[in-house]
């Protein structure tokens, strides 16, 4: 298993390199003067000064030399500067990433527990009350857009009832206030993700429970809960985990909507504003991060699948 994990990790390196190369070439093609994002704008001086700087910094070197320099700088944590605000990108990210990850992970955990839980129960008690309610909820949940749902929640629980703050992440008041700020965005994300997951988990579990090996398990006379957990659930989890893992990059890259609705200071808002402002360096780095999160997700899928399925673990 350890060998498998190391192998998968090593496989990620060339992929990351390829992606970063594509991103770098993309940056080249935009024709933006690299100096403008390598040097903080207020430090820039006269034209000769800049030309000297250019020579000194090796900006007249061939593309690949510069690419490798860029990569090695990023490896050391130097991501360049935003051309709009002049702030180092590493600083922007350091502030924004925790906010996005916090939201994403909480929503992921809750939607997984609730979605998978209700899905499995709906499958075992097919056409029962929970199955029925779940079906209605899924239709409603899939047809209401996330932003609309978020606005409704804000309207009801923040504006009318005043139970929760309207937006932003932290206002003075410590941990309690932090949780208060999290409730509405996490609820919105969780519910909208639950809808799909629930039905998927249910259908997968139904398929598994109708398979021949479940009948075999029952023919041994083991209790039904063992049949469900040991033989059913474990097999149903394989496809469900794939969906859950790939939620992660979707949550990080696609957090734009939810972060805008809740004025959540995460990566999503940065991606949105940098695209609007044409802040290429920031776009490049965030793109790279989203790509990296997709790689991480597929790595997690590989590991979970291997843990659950001997054919993957022991094969080839």
């Amino acid at each position: 298993m350890l060998k498998f994990i190391i192998k998968k990790l090593l496989q990620m390196i060339p992929m990351l390199l390829v992606i970063s190369l594509l991103v770098f070439i993309g940056l080249e093609l935009t024709g933006i003067d690299p100096l403008s994002y390598m040097v903080s704008p207020d430090m820039a001086g006269s034209a000769e000064n800049l030309e000297r700087l250019r020579e000194q910094m090796g900006l007249n070197d061939p593309l690949f030399t510069r690419y490798f320099r860029w990569v090695s700088e990023m490896l050391r944590g130097d991501f360049g500067y935003s051309i709009v605000s002049g702030t180092p990108i590493s600083q922007i990210i350091a502030v924004r990433i925790p906010a996005t990850i916090e939201l994403a992970l909480l929503a992921l955990v809750f939607s997984t527990i609730i979605g998978v839980g209700i899905g499995i129960v709906s499958a075992i008690k097919q056409n029962g009350i929970i199955d029925y309610v779940g079906r209605v909820f899924a239709v409603v949940g899939q047809s209401i857009p996330q932003f609309f749902f978020g606005i409704i929640l804000i309207q009801i629980f923040a504006v009318s009832m005043g139970w929760f703050p309207v937006g932003q992440r932290i206002s003075p008041g410590g941990n309690w206030s932090r949780i208060q700020h999290l409730v509405l965005p996490v609820t919105t994300l969780t519910l909208s993700m639950c809808a799909v997951l629930m039905r998927y988990a249910r259908n997968t579990m139904l398929d598994v429970m109708n398979s021949d090996y479940i009948k075999t398990a029952r023919s041994k006379g083991i209790p039904e809960w063992k049949v469900i957990i040991k033989h059913g659930f474990r097999n149903a989890m394989r496809p469900v985990l794939v969906i859950i893992c790939f939620r992660l990059p979707m949550l990080i890259g696609g957090s734009v909507v939810i972060e805008s609705v809740f004025s959540w200071p995460g990566i999503g808002t940065i991606i949105a504003s940098s695209v609007i402002a044409g802040d290429m360096p920031v776009i490049m780095v965030t793109t790279l991060m989203v790509a990296a999160s997709i790689l991480v997700a597929s790595f997690l899928v590989d590991v979970f699948t291997a843990l659950l399925d001997p054919r993957v673990r022991l094969g080839d």
């Binding site: 109708n210 021949d212 090996y213 009948k215 075999t216 041994k220 097999n235």
Partner: protein, 341 residues
């Protein structure tokens, strides 16, 4: 023969499936008795309801199934003590029914490819039932028993193979694992649903011999579902011939082979290879196709394909007639004999 020597007695089993809000009858008024320490074969074309019949008996049915029976009596024998269970009254996955699955009734399912859980080691899957029914047994003891069973079934290198996963086994080897799984708790009744279809002929013979010797040495009883008449001839004491959910002929092996009476049985015997059949004799196919169970009309189910069909065959339900003691035929050709049910 004492009535308690009937280990399993099924009376008027009816099974239907609900699909698209319609109820389709698949098994109709099936009654059968399995005598202790004998083998009962169930034969018939595929789709006639053999698997559904035995799954209904052991109550392993999908949710869209409706099973009714006057009774399904199982007479459990422990030493001299005989306890009677009516399976039709038990909860399918309740405690009592579960206690019988494994130590009393072992099932070999039809498709070995999909009958094993892909994510567990085969040894553990076979041991699971053993450990469930013998709570005091240690894992080591269970492993020893599994190894012994694998050896008996001719699985090579069992010490290593018990740690393999199903995907690492060939079809034939999987089939043996499935058989091991059914036999590991030493059940009174083994229900084997086409247990050897995935095996080549010599292996088939080996496995069947093993089951047969188990049956004779340990007084076990077997219900064997098969297409293979050679296997029937070798294994069975009694034979049920099924057509479209009904038992159309029942008798001892001699009755069925020497005096096949129902037109379907005769056609069936002409259409499948029988051991010792004269060289060069051509196999016939049964004319016509199996009707769709949803579209069956009243009267004899075989009417459309039967060479002897006449008007009264199309009406009502055809009763069974006893053409000689213990030999029953569901066909109006024999209505001069005593009607039985």
């Amino acid at each position: 023969m004492n009535e308690k020597d009937i280990v399993l007695s099924v009376k008027n089993l009816n099974t239907s499936f609900i699909s698209d809000r319609k109820e389709i009858k698949i098994v109709k008024n099936v009654s059968l008795d399995l005598k202790r320490a004998t083998t009962l074969a169930i034969v018939g074309e595929s789709g006639c309801g053999k698997s559904v019949t035995v799954h209904s008996i052991v109550k392993l049915m999908p949710k869209n199934a409706r099973v009714k029976a006057d009774y399904i009596l199982y007479n459990q024998k422990r030493g001299d003590k005989i306890t009677e269970f009516d399976l039709s009254k038990l909860e399918p996955y309740g405690k009592e029914m579960r206690a019988l699955r494994g130590p009393d009734i072992g099932m070999v399912f039809q498709d070995p490819m999909s009958s094993l859980n892909p994510v567990y080691k085969v040894g553990d899957q076979v041991a699971e039932g053993l450990l469930e029914h013998n709570p005091k047994m240690s894992k080591e003891e269970a492993k020893e028993q599994v190894l012994a069973m694998f050896r008996e079934l001719g699985i090579p290198d069992p010490e290593n193979r018990i740690n393999d996963f199903p995907y690492q086994f060939s079809g034939g080897m999987k089939q043996r694992v499935v058989i091991a799984l059914a036999m590991i708790c030493n059940p009174e009744i083994i229900i084997a649903d086409e247990p050897t279809t995935a095996l080549d002929v010599t292996i088939q013979a080996q496995i069947m011999e093993l089951m047969k010797s188990l049956q004779t040495e340990k007084n076990k009883s077997i219900i064997l579902i098969t297409h293979n008449m050679g296997l029937v001839a070798e294994m069975a004491d009694e034979v049920c011939v099924m057509y479209m959910g009904r038992i159309v002929e029942f008798g001892t092996l001699e009755h069925i082979f020497n005096n096949p009476s129902h037109p379907y049985t005769k056609a069936l015997l002409r259409s499948v290879p029988v051991l010792g059949m004269e060289e060069g004799r051509l196999l016939e196919t049964i004319p016509g196709i199996t009707p769709n169970p949803a579209e069956l009309k009243e009267g004899c189910e075989f009417a459309d394909r039967c060479p002897d069909c006449r008007d009264e065959c199309r009406k009502g339900t055809i009763p069974a007639f006893e053409v000689e003691p213990g030999h029953k035929v569901r066909c109006l050709n024999f209505n001069s004999f005593k009607e039985v049910d």
